[in-house]
């Protein structure tokens, strides 16, 4: 392993989120270190996706703050999160259905493309140079994810597993510091899961990207992640290495139910 786990890069402090009377998250704190793979697990409705949505500003927590590399964010927005270096994939694939695979991944380069509307309208000159330079970077991602053969296909026509891969590609195109993956392996068969696990490890290894992932497949979670945080009913009930979490009585209770 080339990567070395660094200092804390993302620190989530006392986050609470509620929708009316429904408490999605209650006083949850945990941190993420640079270059690590951090998993969030928990039963259905535990608040895992809400957690990711809070981290990248889709939801705004009522309490708590997000500290990213020393910078404090009390009102994170998706746009600020994107600039700060967060990228994410979605549980129920949120690709741009009407666009080709290539265009979907190119959209991920959006923040790095600086040409004005007028320059783009005239195409020749700066806009063309910029487009081609970013195209070259996107092709590297396409190679990395082994989806060369479908680059011109509209994503709506692709099977589910490949769509998930394109979703990852679009996030990678942003060259994120921290990658948030929301159930990257949901609904996949064994081969697809193996492929996806390999991609996640490779991303972490080659690009040094910090990864926060939600996953239900315990085998995958325990194998991939360095540290695991466990949520149940919006509260943190466990945090530590996979082995520690596996031995935690609270976690066992939440997953298997306690004997009375």
């Amino acid at each position: 392993m080339a990567r070395e786990i660094g200092p804390v890069i993302l620190d989530l402090k006392n986050l609470s989120l509620s929708f009316g009377g429904v408490k999605a998250l209650t006083d949850v704190s945990f941190d993420v270190c640079e270059h690590e793979i951090r998993a969030i697990i928990g039963p259905n409705g535990a608040g895992k996706s809400s957690m990711l949505n809070v981290i990248n500003g889709v939801y705004r927590p009522q309490e708590g703050e997000i500290v990213l590399r020393g910078g404090h964010f009390t009102n994170m927005t998706p746009y600020r999160a994107a600039i700060a270096g967060f990228a994410r994939t979605f549980q129920n694939i949120a690709l741009f259905k009407g666009m080709s695979v290539l265009d979907n991944i190119m959209t991920g380069r959006n923040l790095k493309m600086k040409c004005s509307l007028l320059q783009q309208a005239f195409w020749f000159g700066p806009a063309r140079r910029e487009e081609l330079a970013h195209r070259a970077r996107v092709e590297e991602i396409i190679d990395f994810l082994e989806i060369q053969h479908i680059r011109k296909t509209p994503v709506g026509r692709l099977p589910y597993g490949l769509q998930k891969r394109v979703d990852l590609g679009r996030a990678l195109a942003m060259e994120p510091r921290i990658l948030l993956l929301d159930e990257p392996m949901a609904g996949m068969n064994v081969e697809e899961k193996q492929d996806m696990s390999r991609f996640i490890l490779d991303v972490n290894d080659q690009f040094g990207t910090t990864i926060v992932l939600i996953e239900h497949d315990m085998g995958v979670v325990m194998d991939l992640s360095d540290r695991v945080v466990v949520l149940d009913y919006g509260r943190k009930i466990g945090d530590g290495t996979p082995d520690e979490v596996r031995a935690n009585p609270e976690v066992i209770k939440a997953y298997l139910g306690a004997s009375h």
């Binding site: 990248n56 889709v58 998706p78 746009y79 999160a81 994107a82 600039i83 990228a87 994410r88 979605f90 949120a94 690709l95 741009f96 259905k97 009407g98 666009m99 265009d103 190119m106 959209t107 991920g108 380069r109 959006n110 923040l111 493309m113 040409c115 509307l117 783009q120 309208a121 005239f122 195409w123 806009a127 063309r128 910029e130 487009e131 081609l132 195209r135 070259a136 092709e139 679009r170 996030a171 942003m174």
Partner: protein, 358 residues
């Protein structure tokens, strides 16, 4: 020559990113352009220019504008006619109030005025969508219909409310005959279609489509909905404004606000829906369909009546024209909801494989 991309190997991203990657397409489009610029002027007569070709060109330009907004950015609008009107009246005011205003500059300024107002009337799109946005843009239509009728300054206090522009010329070229008008419109349309294509294949086009397809995901990858939506409104209104100015100056010559009523807005919306949402080519198909079909029916029905020995009155023809036209729109939408552009691309895909089925 068989329509294939086999054997044409792209060795650079530039070659892969061109507008027509298949050589046959490139030749075909060049041939069509050459024919439009050189062949049509030799063949067409005055009626054809006035009644079909010039309206087709100008409405294609307007349909392009609507398609950028509705088809690419997914923001529905019922105010297209209003933005054409703004372009026409703004250009008119620049022409009469500034001495020696060049025609092209007036057209562009008309477009810019329309773009600025488009941004203002686009702001509701940041909060509402779908039908609610349609109603909000309808407000633009009614407001500007009212403004151009009632605020006399816009029409230079003309007693009848109708305004006109004479002595048009571009760099010393006097725009007088239908042929001149046709060539001017064709040149403007060619340029604007190219600009539109460049926009939709570039970063801004991807932003628009991202907002259209999945706005939450678009925000997460750093697209600002405000910028994307308002820029779509601005560009769309700019196209509509220039089209409106051409419609007033070149096609009508003298016009009143009724030329840009709600009927026009609906007509433009039909064009992009029938032609194909999210397709530059579709805008042309839609405009052709809507402009040419009524004229065709108008000529064809009496002939058909004569064939079976029925004398059809003019009134009956125009009623039947409406009914058949409406029925055809419904028919097309049921058979191909994605519009004529989809039929076209399906045909091209089949042609690529022909004579093999798969």
């Amino acid at each position: 020559m068989i329509y294939r991309e086999n054997g044409h190997f792209k060795t650079s991203y530039a070659a892969d990113r061109q507008i027509f990657p298949i050589p046959q397409d490139r030749w075909a489009i060049l041939a069509i352009l050459a024919f439009a610029f050189a062949g049509v002027p030799l063949l067409a007569d005055e009626y054809l220019f006035r009644a079909i070709l010039i309206p087709f060109l100008i409405l294609s330009l307007a349909a392009l504008g609507v398609n950028l907004l509705v088809g690419y950015c997914g923001q529905i609008t019922l105010g297209a006619g209003a933005f054409m009107a703004i372009g026409a009246y703004a250009a008119y005011n620049f022409m009469i109030r500034i001495d020696d205003m060049p025609l092209l500059a007036a057209l562009l300024l008309g477009g810019l005025a329309s773009a600025a107002i488009g941004i203002v009337f686009g702001t509701p799109s940041l909060r509402v969508r779908g039908l609610y946005l349609a109603v909000a843009t309808l407000a633009a239509q009614f407001f500007w219909d009212w403004a151009f009728l009632r605020i006399k300054w816009f029409t230079d206090y003309s007693p009848s409310g109708s305004v006109s522009i004479a002595n048009l010329h571009v760099f010393g070229w006097k725009i007088d005959s239908p042929l001149d008008k046709y060539l001017l419109c064709l040149a403007v349309l060619t340029l604007f279609a190219l600009l539109a294509k460049n926009l939709v294949r570039g970063a801004i086009g991807r932003q628009w489509m991202a907002i259209r397809d999945m706005d939450v995901a678009a925000e997460v990858i750093g697209i600002r909905p405000m910028y994307a939506k308002l820029s779509a409104f601005a560009v769309s209104s700019f196209f509509l404004g220039v089209a409106g100015a051409l419609w007033g100056f070149i096609h009508l010559g003298s016009w009143e606000p009724a030329a840009f009523s709600i009927d026009r807005s609906l007509q433009l919306l039909f064009m992009v829906i029938i032609g194909g949402l999210g397709s530059i080519m579709g805008s042309f198909f839609g405009a052709a369909f809507i402009v040419i079909l009524p004229i065709f029916l108008n000529q064809f029905l009496p002939w058909l009546g004569g064939l079976v020995g029925l004398g059809i009155s003019t009134a009956a023809v125009s009623h039947a024209e409406f009914m058949i036209f409406g029925a055809l729109i419904v028919f097309f939408l049921i058979v191909e909801p994605h519009g004529l552009a989809r039929l076209w691309s399906t045909a091209k895909e089949k042609l690529r494989l022909w004579p093999f089925p798969h």
